[in-house]
């Protein structure tokens, strides 16, 4: 939230979209997203403890990494007993999309210093990025300069709070669920649910198909290198398919 000093300054300048108003507008705009965060956070907490990660480390992972897809992949790789550089590499590949978001958000965060930029970067999610950049590119967007940072924070911070709460709930209650339920199957289901909307066009479909086939074929590779190999093959195939059309 904006500090009182910042709020007073906004009131003095008579700015309608002060820091607090911008923050609250962001939080309000993000409300429909919250419903999607709850099951995702619960599942992440449950699946971490279901493969034997202690509750404390599960919560720490949510706070330190704060990126659901890479956390789930990390949990799967930890369960497989993968070497740690491979798990880092997997996080790198899965979260490469953040570089794309970082590039899109950068021009909107020019007005703030390195501290606030780092804070915004830490809170970056698919949802916070999409919603904020969408708002800033509207013709009648009222948020300018520093207010863009406050709007973005209003979107992003509640997502973080909700993510932490639901991971904790998932981890604590997940520890009570017997392994025979096969609850770890929610991990691939979750990825499937995120994957389907990403298959927007033919090149994306090709990327996914090649990624899937190579991953199955390369499953026996040492250090779980299959995932990385398959991801690279899929990305290359998608680009080839795009070049042909």
């Amino acid at each position: 939230m904006p500090t009182d000093a910042e709020q007073r300054r906004d009131e003095q300048t008579g700015e309608r979209w002060g820091a607090r108003a911008s923050f609250l507008a962001g939080a309000k705009a993000a409300a429909p997203i919250y419903i999607g965060i709850v099951p995702f956070g619960l599942v992440t907490g449950v699946s971490a403890v279901s493969v034997g990660i202690p509750v404390t480390e599960t919560i720490a992972m949510s706070a330190v990494v704060f990126a659901g897809a890479s956390q789930l992949a990390g949990i799967q790789l930890i369960a497989n007993g993968a070497a740690f550089p491979i798990i880092w590499l997997a996080a790198l590949v899965i979260n490469l999309r953040f570089v794309m978001y970082s590039a899109s958000l950068a021009p909107h965060l020019r007005a703030v210093g390195l501290g606030k930029r780092s804070f915004a970067a830490y809170l970056m999610t698919d949802q916070a990025f999409a919603l904020s950049v969408g708002q800033f590119s509207e013709d009648d967007n009222p948020f300018e300069g520093v207010m863009k940072f406050w709007f973005y924070s209003g979107v992003a911070l509640p997502i973080w709070v909700l993510w932490m709460i639901t991971t904790v709930i998932g981890a604590v209650f997940g520890a009570q669920i017997p392994a025979s339920w096969g609850l770890d199957f929610v991990i691939p289901l979750m990825f499937l649910a995120i994957l389907m909307p990403a298959l927007r066009d033919r090149p994306a479909l090709v990327a996914a198909a090649v990624g899937a086939v190579v991953a199955v074929a390369a499953d026996g590779l040492p250090f779980n290198l299959g995932l990385i190999t398959a991801a690279v093959a899929g990305i290359v195939a998608g680009q080839l398919a795009e070049a042909r059309t």
Binding site: P39, E57, M61, N95, M100, L105, L199, A207, G234
Partner: protein, 108 residues
Amino acid sequence: MNTTWLWLVIVGMGVVTFALRVSVIAFQDRLTLPPALRRALRFVPAAVLAAIVAPAVVYGEGGLELSLANERLLAALVAALVAWWRKSLLLTLLAGMAAFWSLRALFG
């Protein structure tokens, strides 16, 4: 599971993820993204997600199971249809787990 090893994994994942997030935002004055990288990034979600899902679904306890007797594969197909029909995370999970549990109860 070794605690030190687990923390090494978590902190490393965090460092990598934050570096990617902060990259252009923090260093925008000195950094531009090559167009080739920008084009490649577009296919990251589809390729990576499919590569995670496929082995988790087709490998059973007895190795590769590309048949209708594999309840994970069938349940995943049900979940994929639901995800395609309704873009709802919750509905996809519920349908997939319901299919998985009923198939296991019927044939398992």
